[in-house]
């Protein structure tokens, strides 16, 4: 009964008509010539055009934008195949121009429409056009497309960056279990490995043969503590070449902050290590060269006392032959010989002492340091008529490596002396003068000679290793060693300038080695 009643009630209603009138779609009924048979309320409201005013008129006369050729084709096709044909918003935008009044739909001026053309009355050749508002969807699509564009651009940039990193940066990545998950191309090339040879290997196991125990321990500790660690390591390439790295271990986290593994950035320091080694070699050979020079200086020092001993001995011998040798003579001679030999012994001690590199810095009195230097050189200066002057206003002491500084000073003065000796022209008033001054942050030592000056092109190269103007007589290491010692070990500066016949060497040294020159 109930069912019948419902059916009866439904029949009294004109459901189709009411629903169609209120449906949220535009509905137009057209014939094949585009003449309008129906224009629903929705369209009336959206276009502001009344159905009664446009019935029997052609739709392309009402809306100029409509391409009548395309529309006619679609209508004809729909009628022919008896299934709908379509316009889609994504390609056709809209059929009926309806201005949008919503602010947030900023991408479009007109409502974007999907249109289905449904065969309606085959006999009369009528079709129904059903318009669906797709603006929101189209808007979302437009937004999406714009974002995809941005993402693609960013992605391309990222890939490029990644490519650069892969090609240029030495990186190895491994997970929490130390399984190698990525190795940059640059590192693979350096180590002469294929990626497959390293991937999935245990990093610690792979590296353990090349790493010191201490380094391994520090690495494992930092990994456990998830700390950044900077360390130096030496490893072997697949071809057995030793490669030195300055490396940084960094724990890696996921975007959610969960620890997922580690990255090691490496810097290839093999070349600089090699350079440092050759630097050491140069320094060592410069030391032995300096020693050689020193031996010749010692020989100078010894010549006079040795001849003194000789004379004493000869005198003793003559006196003995003449039987005039008294007890007193013998005692006096022995005493003289003893003084002289102990002087010789002292010279050796000094020599040995000064050429041992200092391990610790100490308080050094600059004036006495110069005295010590001159002790080794005064004989040769005297022989060559070179006057030596030192000008110190105050008693100056600094904290530095004494013997290194002494060697450097001797070298520089020795260089000046050589300049006089090897000079092609006669120089009058040969002079080496030293001026020492106490400045606020450092002391300055100026050593000047008037041995004729140095040419500009030579001056630029004086601190280079194996550079010498003395051909056979020089090793070319003296001034290079001075430069290395003063700038490297003693944290100071050394500059050599030349003006007419004067050569000036300026040495600046910090008061304490720890602080250096501010």
């Amino acid at each position: 009964m109930a069912k019948n009643k419902t059916q009866q009630y439904i029949r009294t209603l004109d459901i189709d008509k009411k629903i169609v009138a209120n449906i949220d779609n535009g509905i137009i009924v057209l014939d094949q010539d585009l003449k309008i048979y129906h224009f629903n309320k929705w369209l009336e409201l959206h276009t502001g055009i009344k159905e009664c005013n446009i019935l029997d008129k052609k739709i392309n006369d009402i809306f100029d934008d409509i391409n009548s050729k395309t529309l006619k084709r679609k209508i004809k096709t729909a009628l022919r195949i008896q299934t709908p044909t379509f316009y889609t918003a994504s390609t056709s935008k809209y059929l009926i121009p309806i201005k949008i009044n919503q602010f947030h739909n900023s991408s479009f001026e007109y409502m974007q429409q999907d249109v289905s053309i449904i065969p309606f009355d085959e006999e009369k050749g009528l079709v129904a056009l059903i318009l669906t508002d797709q603006t929101i969807m189209a808007n979302t699509n437009a937004l999406l497309e714009a974002n995809i564009q941005t993402i693609n651009e960013l992605n391309a940039e990222l890939l490029k960056e990644r490519d650069t990193i892969d090609k240029k940066v030495l990186v190895i990545k491994f997970d929490k279990t130390f399984r190698i998950i990525d190795v940059s191309q640059a590192l693979l090339e350096l180590l002469c490995y294929d990626k497959e040879e390293l991937l999935d290997k245990n990093f610690l196991f792979h590296e353990k043969y090349h790493m010191t125990k201490d380094c391994q321990m520090r690495l494992v500790q930092s990994m456990k503590a998830l700390k950044v660690l900077e360390f130096e390591e030496t490893t072997l390439s697949a071809h057995g070449h030793t490669i030195c790295f300055k490396s940084t271990l960094i724990p890696e986290y996921s975007s959610k902050g969960i620890h997922i593994g580690f990255i090691i950035f490496r810097e290839n320091i093999t070349d600089s290590k090699r350079l440092a080694k050759s630097q050491e070699k140069i320094l060592a050979s410069s030391r032995s060269a300096a020693m050689g020079e020193m031996v010749s200086m010692i020989a100078h020092q010894w010549r006079q006392p040795l001849s003194l001993i000789n004379t004493i001995m000869a005198t003793l011998k003559i006196k003995k032959e003449l039987e005039k040798l008294s007890e007193k003579d013998i005692n006096e001679a022995f005493a003289k010989i003893q003084t002289t030999t102990s002087y010789l012994s002292d010279t050796i001690d000094d020599f040995r002492d000064y050429f041992k590199p200092n391990k610790k810095s100490s308080e050094v009195n600059i004036l006495s340091l110069f005295d010590n230097s001159i002790f080794f050189l005064k004989e040769v200066m005297h022989q060559n008529n070179i006057e030596y002057k030192i000008d110190v206003t105050q008693n100056i002491s600094i904290d530095t490596y004494k013997n290194e500084l002494l060697q450097s000073i001797i070298n520089i003065i020795r260089n000046s002396i050589d300049a006089f000796i090897f000079s092609d022209v006669e120089i009058l008033n040969k002079q080496i003068s030293v001026n020492i001054q106490k400045l606020e942050s450092h002391i300055s030592i100026i050593i000047t000679d008037n041995a004729g000056g140095i040419q500009k092109d030579v001056l630029q190269r004086v601190f280079e290793p194996y550079f010498s103007t003395k051909s056979k007589n020089g090793t070319g290491l003296g001034l290079h060693m001075c430069h290395t010692i003063i700038t490297g070990h003693l944290k100071g500066n050394i500059i050599m300038t030349s003006n007419e016949n004067l050569t000036t060497t300026l040495i600046e040294l910090p008061y304490t080695i720890l602080k250096g020159i501010k």
């Binding site: 679609k74 096709t77 195949i81 299934t83 316009y87 889609t88």
Partner: protein
């Protein structure tokens, strides 16, 4: 998973039905475009999705337009239509289109006509009805089709593919009618009942 394959008999029946449908489609397309069109004899096979994607990727020699349209009912699935740039340009020339948007629209129309005529006729023969969704032109680059989620819903598909040729206009296209597992099952049942009637 159960592998659904068509028996020789089932294939024969489907082939017959398709031939009728294709004849109809050809006539409509020719009428719509006002040009002499031909469709090659449909090639029917049941294949795995992987194979389908491989087939698609074989098509990516040059830039292609790729459109799809879903159809629904007891017999449901999706059609995929491929037309290359040269053919699309020839189509535009033939239809005297002004803009690339008009061309997109024309390709969608062609897709719709082919899908509708083929499946409607086929459904009529099998005594069922289908409705059609709006066709859409895919902006996805062909090499990424494999990543498109829509294709993941298929495990195996019946592929009915044919070449559309307009000889004079140099327009060639390839359409695939794809149906999913449940439709294959339905199709088998339907084909068998037709077979019984024939015997």
């Amino acid at each position: 998973m159960q592998t659904l394959d068509l028996t020789e008999d089932e294939k024969d029946v489907l082939q017959e039905l398709m031939n009728v449908a294709y004849g109809n489609a050809t006539a409509v397309v020719a009428e719509m475009l006002n040009a002499f069109a031909s469709l090659s004899i449909p090639n029917i096979k049941v294949i795995q999705t992987d194979e389908l994607l491989a087939t698609f990727s074989e098509l990516k020699s040059e830039s292609y337009f790729f459109s799809t349209q879903a159809f629904n009912g007891e017999f449901k699935g999706e059609s995929a239509f491929f037309i290359n740039q040269t053919s699309a340009n020839n189509l535009a020339k033939h239809l005297e289109l002004d803009s690339s948007e008009d061309l997109d629209d024309a390709i969608l129309e062609l897709t719709n006509v082919l899908t509708s005529t083929l499946t409607t006729k086929l459904s009529q023969e099998m005594d069922t009805e289908v409705s059609f969704s709006l066709p859409s032109l895919s902006k996805i680059p062909l090499q990424e089709i494999g990543k498109t989620p829509a294709f993941e819903y298929y495990s195996q598909v019946i592929v009915i593919d044919t070449d559309l040729n307009f000889k004079d206009q140099q327009i060639h296209g390839k359409i695939f009618i794809l149906t999913k597992d449940e439709s294959i099952q339905w199709l088998k049942t339907k084909l068998n009942s037709i077979l019984e009637l024939l015997i």
